[in-house]
């Protein structure tokens, strides 16, 4: 972290940037929220550690419209979204200094709480163990068991776009999961089981739009659901159909663009596994049109704005995976 602070101060001093988009400590010791630090006010409260899960990429849309150049701290996974935003002309590359920061997978405090560890005051890392100071005394938890779901499915990516990169930190000792396993599990169910699964999940949706607001691919000035001419504008789910539709369309609009950053599920207050919708599209795209990782570059045509003459017919859906 010291190296990062030094680098930011250097960028401030040599006039490269006048602001930096990063994380600061929140109300609780283990809470990190996105924040913009200015040259004038300094880095008071700045923090970069295993709790900085939030993807900052989307904040750049508004930030790059402001005066002067801004630096962004970008984890490897975040840089994929930066590429997408650059490709879609949503941010002005000239006004951003991308400072790559290392990542050894982020900690999900909810997972620690789920283990029955309550009254958490602070969390320290010692190698592969978390030392948790609670009002009931000190507890421990293996780091692996508290890793964010989205990090478990992370492809172990490297920074794909950056101006400068800070190497370092000890390598993460994290066991990754097969990100498609959950999708495959659903695919293996009967249609009725799948329907029941999604009904029970999506009926929890309160249409708070957290998924939409956090998604770094969901960057419309005005969302189609807020556009009266679209014929589907709605502020709340008034019936079960709308619960389904909102999430189908949300996933469809980011299909081929979603980098699988997992932010939608991370922020959902109702714990709906929204990433499973996005991953279904990723899986289909990879299987039908060739492996495509959104954000790997800032030039390639996305799979839905591209085609080959030999593409599969939609009828493949009837036969694919049919038992």
């Amino acid at each position: 972290m010291q190296e990062i602070i030094e680098k930011i101060n250097e960028l401030f001093e040599n006039g490269t940037v006048n602001r930096v988009l990063a994380w600061k400590t929140g109300e609780f010791d283990y809470e990190r929220t996105p924040a913009v630090f200015t040259k004038e006010d300094g880095l008071d409260g700045f923090s970069y550690d295993s709790f900085c899960a939030a993807n900052l990429a989307k904040y750049l849309i508004l930030e790059t419209k402001k005066e002067g150049k801004i630096a962004i701290l970008a984890k490897p996974c975040d840089t994929y979204n930066l590429n997408l935003l650059i490709k879609e002309h949503r941010i002005d590359r000239e006004k951003v200094f991308i400072l790559g920061v290392p990542c050894r997978c982020k900690i999900d405090v909810e997972k620690i709480r789920a283990k029955g560890i309550k009254g958490i005051k602070s969390i320290k890392e010692e190698g592969d163990t978390l030392i948790i100071d609670t009002i009931y005394g000190e507890k421990t938890c293996p780091r692996q068991e508290a890793i964010q779901d989205k990090c478990l499915a992370c492809q172990g990516r490297t920074h794909v776009v950056f101006d400068e990169k800070i190497e370092g930190g000890e390598p993460a000792n994290v066991e990754k999961i097969d990100r498609m396993a959950e999708v495959e599990k659903l695919e293996a169910m009967t249609p009725q089981e799948r329907f029941d699964f999604w009904r029970s999940e999506l009926s929890k949706c309160i249409r708070c739009n957290a998924c939409r607001n956090v998604c770094p691919a969901c960057t419309c000035t005005t969302c189609v659901f807020d556009n009266p001419a679209s014929g589907v504008s709605s502020k709340a789910n008034t019936d079960t159909f709308e619960e389904n539709m909102f999430h189908i369309i949300r996933a469809f609009h980011v299909a081929g663009r979603c980098t699988d950053c997992g932010e939608c599920s991370r922020v959902c207050p109702q714990h709906i596994p929204l990433h499973l919708l996005n991953r279904k599209f990723i899986k289909e795209i990879n299987e039908l049109y060739g492996t495509y990782q959104s954000g790997e570059d800032a030039q390639s045509k996305g799979p839905l704005t591209n085609f080959t003459q030999e593409d599969a017919e939609p009828s493949i859906v009837y036969t694919k995976g049919r038992v």
């Binding site: 879609e88 419309c220 000035t221 189609v224 014929g231 045509k301 704005t305």
Partner: protein, 661 residues
């Protein structure tokens, strides 16, 4: 609020027999904003149209629904009618209750119910219709012809004679194309050069025609009436304005080792060369891959001998940008490559030649000065076998499925010309069918069989191989059901024709559709055979499909007539049902432009007032003159900023709602 009139047509008994038209009209009266509904025997008739016009005036209608035959039939008719009544022609919707209802349903109850639903959907849509005004665009009165063969030359001459400027872009150093390589032409046996070269000279001398030889089309932008084309004029290393065409440079060039393309590689040319004696323009070109001076900086002999200092080793490719109103594709053809036809020994045995090579061997200006000498040892062949349909009319992946059309006739020509010069030659022709549909074509073929004694064998050739200085041809004679083995001195392969390799790239640039064989497709196979479906693009010659010279010349003339018809107009009326981006909703993400087949979407930075200041946003702007209204962009746009006029999201949803009610 809309005032809608609904008009239900009986179409005599075509509709009225299975749809209760009165019930449909009655049901229409119950629809929101419908102030008038009626039925009539023939809405499209003079009196039917008068009925509509009168009702519009009497009831002050703002929208009209006609329940009748397909809009593909009478939409234009009814649009004109409502326009006569002072209504915008796009305030009209048609409910197709004939082709899609009365004609397919027998039960009157079922038919009537469906007709009512279709009417309801049309009424729901027309509620949301907005007056649309077709944009106008000016026409650039200049035509580009791509390809300088007989097709391109003829089109250019015809357009230029009508008084319009024409530019011909030809990728070879000379115009003339494949026809210039031919010896004589069937069925009259005119010498190709004698009838073509005067036209080449005419084209070059025409004050309305500009030739860009050794040039290629690099980029095409724009739309009908307003194309902007970038032409790459390749470096010739010879100044066209100074060169007199004396040819001394080509004689003195020490690098005479290059295969001569014009003679199908049967002899050699220098690094600086004029393709053939009658080339237009008669200006040499330096082959940069062969020229020692260009490669190593040494030599420069041609420059020393040139008396007018026309050689310029420093010449660079030149990019020329010009505007055109119409573009004619006349890119012609090539013979297919025969590397996958190993059984025919082409390339292995020098005495197995393609028909175009044979054409050069027969030609007085060819590599053998017109003496028929076989390539391997320079001897006169005594037995020649012609093989038809090599690569044509086949099912395998290496073959073309189509008939190359000209081979039957030129083979008969080759056989007769050979017999004329060398009467004691034995000639065999292996064929699947002999196709001679054309004026004087069958007579021509029969002359070969009956007067010249050419041996036609119905059957295909299985194998060609070299043995003891002979070319052995093994084939089957289907009529006598026998295998035959002919020891020949030469074999001529009637090789299939395919579009020039530049066609596919050009098709993409022009957004002109092509078939699976890369032939350009016509807008309508029967009724619009010389136009591409892309407005402003016209087709001439083999680029559209195999055809012989008379057909090519007539098609070239037809394409010219279409071009003249277009260029004679001062303004073009566009299709107003085009995409439109709502700048307040647009993100400027460029996804729409990625799927636009016409390049109709551009982006600009625009300032918007926002609370507390001004914000600059990148927004999409549709060029309405370029947009063809497919709607691909509207679906790819996530925010719904992009919508299609005449088929808006809300209009289509209104139809959906009405149908599903």
């Amino acid at each position: 609020m809309q005032k809608i009139g609904v008009f239900v047509c009986w179409c005599g008994s075509n509709i009225a027999a299975t749809v209760d038209v009165k019930a449909v009209a009655e049901a229409a009266k119950q629809q929101p904003n419908v102030v008038y509904a009626t039925d009539y025997q023939y809405m499209c008739s003079e009196s039917g149209q008068t009925l509509i016009i009168d009702a519009i005036k009497e009831y002050g209608l703002t929208g009209v629904v006609i329940c009748s035959c397909s809009p593909r039939m009478h939409e234009t008719t009814f649009r004109k009618a409502v326009q006569k009544a002072g209504l915008n022609p796009y305030m009209l919707e048609i409910a197709n209750i004939r082709e899609q209802c009365s004609w397919i349903h027998k039960d009157i109850k079922e038919g009537t119910e469906k007709a009512i639903i279709l009417m309801t959907a049309a009424v729901a849509k027309v509620q949301l219709n907005k007056p649309l005004i077709a944009g106008e665009s000016a026409v650039t009165k200049r035509c580009l012809v791509i390809g300088g063969g007989i097709a391109g030359i003829q089109t250019a001459l015809d357009v230029a004679d009508a008084g319009f400027e024409v530019d011909i872009v030809e990728k070879k150093p000379t115009i003339g194309g494949k026809m210039a390589q031919l010896d004589k032409t069937f069925p009259t046996l005119d010498c190709a050069a004698c009838i073509l070269t005067p036209k080449m000279v005419d084209a070059a001398a025409h004050d309305k025609i500009t030739l860009y030889t050794y040039s290629e089309v690099e980029a095409v932008k724009g739309f009908v009436g307003n194309f902007t084309v970038t032409i790459r004029k390749k470096a010739r290393y010879v100044k066209e304005n100074l060169c007199t065409g004396c040819g001394i440079c080509t004689e003195k060039c020490p690098m005479k080792k290059q295969p001569n393309e014009f003679n199908m590689g049967l002899d050699k040319r220098g690094a600086i060369y004029i393709p053939f004696a009658q080339a237009v323009p008669k200006v040499p070109v330096i082959d940069p891959d062969a020229c020692i001076k260009l490669k190593t900086g040494k030599c420069g002999i041609c420059s020393k001998f040139c008396q007018v200092q026309a050689i310029d080793y420093t010449q660079k490719d030149e990019l020329i940008e010009k505007k055109y109103g119409a573009i004619v594709v006349a890119t012609g053809f090539n013979l297919i490559k025969l590397d996958k036809f190993g059984e025919l020994s082409y390339g292995l045995c020098p005495d197995v030649v393609t028909s175009l090579e044979y054409e050069r061997l027969m030609n007085a200006a060819g590599p053998t000065k017109g003496h028929l000498l076989r390539p391997s040892d320079g001897k006169e062949p005594k037995t020649i076998v012609f093989v038809q349909c090599v690569g044509s009319r086949g099912n395998s992946c290496k073959e073309k499925s189509y008939c190359s059309k000209v081979c039957c006739m030129y083979t008969a020509k080759h056989a007769m010309l050979t017999k004329d010069h060398y009467p004691d030659t034995d000639i065999y022709v292996f064929y699947i069918d002999v196709r001679t549909p054309g004026k004087n074509f069958d007579e021509f073929y029969r002359r070969a069989v009956e007067q010249y004694g050419v041996n036609y064998i119905k059957g295909q050739v299985g194998k060609v191989y070299e043995e003891n200085g002979k070319v052995m041809v093994q084939g089957s004679d289907l009529l006598s059901n026998e295998q035959v083995l002919i020891p020949a001195d030469m074999v001529v392969l009637a090789t299939a024709i395919e579009p020039d390799e530049s066609a596919r790239k050009l098709g993409t640039m022009l957004t002109a559709s092509m078939d699976t064989n890369d032939f350009f497709t016509e807008a309508h196979a029967k009724l619009r055979p010389v136009e591409s479906p892309t407005a402003g693009i016209f087709l001439s010659g083999m680029a559209q499909g195999p055809k012989d010279i008379p057909e090519t010349v007539s098609q070239a003339g037809a394409a010219a007539a279409k071009v003249i018809g277009l260029l004679a107009k001062d303004k073009l009326l566009g299709n107003p049902c085009v995409a439109h981006s709502d700048e307040m909703l647009c993100n400027g993400c460029s996804t729409c432009a990625n799927v636009c087949p016409y390049g109709a979407i551009e982006y600009q930075n625009k300032e918007f007032r926002i609370p507390g200041g001004v914000e600059t946003r990148r927004i999409a702007v549709v060029n309405e003159a370029v947009c063809q209204g497919c709607g691909a962009c509207t679906v790819t746009c996530p925010s719904g900023a992009m919508d299609l006029k005449g088929f808006t999201n809300r209009q289509i949803m209104a139809e959906v709602d009405a149908i599903c009610k």
